[in-house]
Chain length 504, copies 2
Amino acid sequence: MGKPKNAISPTREENYPEWYQQVVKAADMAENTPVRGCMVIKPWGYGIWENIRDALDVMFKETGHKNAYFPLFIPKSFLQREAEHVDGFAKECAVVTHSRLEADEAGILQPAGKLDEPLIVRPTSETIIGELFARWVQSYRDLPLLINQWANVVRWEMRPRLFLRTAEFLWQEGHTVHATAREAVEETELMLRTYADFSENWLAMPVLRGEKTESERFPGAESTLCIEAMMQDRKALQAGTSHFLGQNFSKACGIKFQGVEGKEEFGWTTSWGVSTRLIGGMIMTHADDDGLIVPPKVSPTHAVILPVTPKEDSREQVLDACHALARELRDKSFAGAPIRVDIDDRDLRGGEKYWQWVKKGIPLTIEIGPRDLEKGSVFVGRRDLGAQREPMSRDDLLANIPELLDQIQQTLFSRALAFRDEHTREIDNKEELYSYFTPENKSKPEIHGGFAWVHWDRDPKWEEALKNDLKVTVRCIPENGGDPGVCIFSGNPSPGRVVLAKSY
Amino acid sequence: MGKPKNAISPTREENYPEWYQQVVKAADMAENTPVRGCMVIKPWGYGIWENIRDALDVMFKETGHKNAYFPLFIPKSFLQREAEHVDGFAKECAVVTHSRLEADEAGILQPAGKLDEPLIVRPTSETIIGELFARWVQSYRDLPLLINQWANVVRWEMRPRLFLRTAEFLWQEGHTVHATAREAVEETELMLRTYADFSENWLAMPVLRGEKTESERFPGAESTLCIEAMMQDRKALQAGTSHFLGQNFSKACGIKFQGVEGKEEFGWTTSWGVSTRLIGGMIMTHADDDGLIVPPKVSPTHAVILPVTPKEDSREQVLDACHALARELRDKSFAGAPIRVDIDDRDLRGGEKYWQWVKKGIPLTIEIGPRDLEKGSVFVGRRDLGAQREPMSRDDLLANIPELLDQIQQTLFSRALAFRDEHTREIDNKEELYSYFTPENKSKPEIHGGFAWVHWDRDPKWEEALKNDLKVTVRCIPENGGDPGVCIFSGNPSPGRVVLAKSY
């Protein structure tokens, strides 16, 4: 069977941003809505989010966190309690000013019932959660307080893109209070490792762990740790952040506790979050010119069985065989859960149906026709190996499906890691750096650059220059930045390499 | 060991509404916040919600529904598309009018970036979901479209009460489109049965199933089905609703499809929802004057082990035994999931600790001290049997814990059903009805009344009179209203009995 032309047009090479939109559309994951910047997450996209949420939730609970739910609205005065924080979010927030609609003289409904104080739809919840933590924390015995919230948040985005940057998005935000700065720092590090573990082992997305420079810190944080992944256009995607907030928010919100020796002290707080943006990262790490590829561990369905029923008289028999196989497959387990199998018996041409599943990125397709019944075989397609399909005995499939899914998971990770390695280099002079990040033909900016590990003396003026000249930023000061060296901009000493890239 | 006085003050008898608040507080489930009408759901309350959500989610998926996520905001013009619908919600909605905050001349942050069209924070999502369904539905092949959303919604409540009536609440809203009216009606009935099944079998809360009268219908619905439960003050709580929307919203939103014969038709839609209000219903069905009682199936923890360590030299041994028992208990399962066990080794007086768990309503407490180790016994408290504790052999506990939890679940249901039966009567004349619903001493309105099954000729004027005279409403026209009879108000024919009660 010859491979048709690519299912996604344009290809990554031809127009990467447009390819991304088309992949999301072809997989039927999400759409834009008439509400500016707000997307609808359709069942296939939401199913992936449910798997992400459930896996992370287990990790959070295993590390002692409990879930709670806090108000959607934040009074304006609360947001203003931390000066840097409000500066960071005031420019992009949804403001509720009225509590009802009322017909005016012309009979047109207008906002009415003006609120005494405007409410902000939470862009993040440090200040409202801080207010409540201040009630809950009285003594060192109440610490650490380890809380997580799954919620929607709103940040008014000027240039929205499905999953990557939307006005409303779904996320989790962890918020903790500790008795000492050291414990709070350890918490931020623990959660960063949790995020990295999840990204690599569930999304098959390799990430660098490191710290943000001052200019990229969360508004109000003392330090921001992050994980950074490389997309297939070689840009970086910040996939999760973990903030050490020092005593900034505990002072702003009055989170005080009586210490072991009776003295009243301010708590040390952290916050950390990942969002539906992870799905954007997953797409741009794995999808190809035939559409989405979902890592098995987070795929809503692991395998779809496609009955091939050319003749009416064998149709029933084929369908029965499909259902029998599905039942047996569902008794197997992968990644701690039963294998998720669907049967797609819609009345559609076989090729069309098969390609719909390819575009959805399902890990395995299993076709069964009348002849397969005789031979005890099935026809298996592995999405990570492209659109080719191979015969396999039914028994082998049943015996090996967990391993098969695991192989797909591993292949996706290895391939992404190899891609990142291929497009990562240590650069030791400024000209090479500038040329690395400059497309050869400016009028047609092809995919270029990657991650550059360079020595930098930490002077913010070079960071500013990079942003202006190349649209390149310091993605992170990595945990493994290596030995001290010489700054490629100033010739001054550098304590270690940092990672530069263009980014989302 | 003598029973102390009630842990909750006031008792149900003394002051029912205040008792409710104190139960919620003593169980540490939720609190009011400085954001008017918005509560924070604390870990114990949220854990119950997670169990409710997960159990219902399985039921929705088993009946063919898929989850998706739609925008938080609804443009004002969308809400206005269905006239009754906007009338129903305009009086209590949060209106977003601006997209940022900006400092005025005095340096005070003010709403800025006025929106061209105000956005309403969803009070329910028929109109925005309808807009998207109109895109997705083209042909009869696309039907039925069966979607559910887990989300937060906002309705500006003037008299908020934790869980029962809050400005923001968590819920699920199902939205479906069908090719025929009959299929849509069947869907509303199926989901009503699903809600009743869940309420009775998971929350141990008996419910009546029936239909609302016209005056109590969802704004924009053709008919509204409901489940109604009896609280311990004998008032009714509407615990879930399922609406047949006819073609009202499909016409308002343009949900059209090409029928089998090629003709374009409007779809028939439904919507149905339950919310965190279920937790309020659960509390008022089971809690007693010692605090909350959580039905085992939805309890965040089934059993807590309380180490009794009077002497330092046996402390370690006792703790080891507690951990060993916890491990063995967690290997057992109840209601399809591993048994959830906590060990509470906080440094607190034993009595205080024990009573904290009683007030949280945990199904089982298990105390273990040095002497129990010698005897191979434990000291078990069943919350449904009050605050008494009995010795039990460790082996018996391990062998019987699933059955024990099941017994508690059954006892709670039977008790609630007996309570409802006790306070339900058929009433066949108007005087008796008025006296049934009138407290003996108006200045001190003790708990009174209940469910009255009466014949009514369906003339709305009697409904109106009941509301004005007694604050009593028709809770539902029950599925099992029995034979025709004579209206107790007019003497005219009645097609069957309806259920009257005061309500939340």
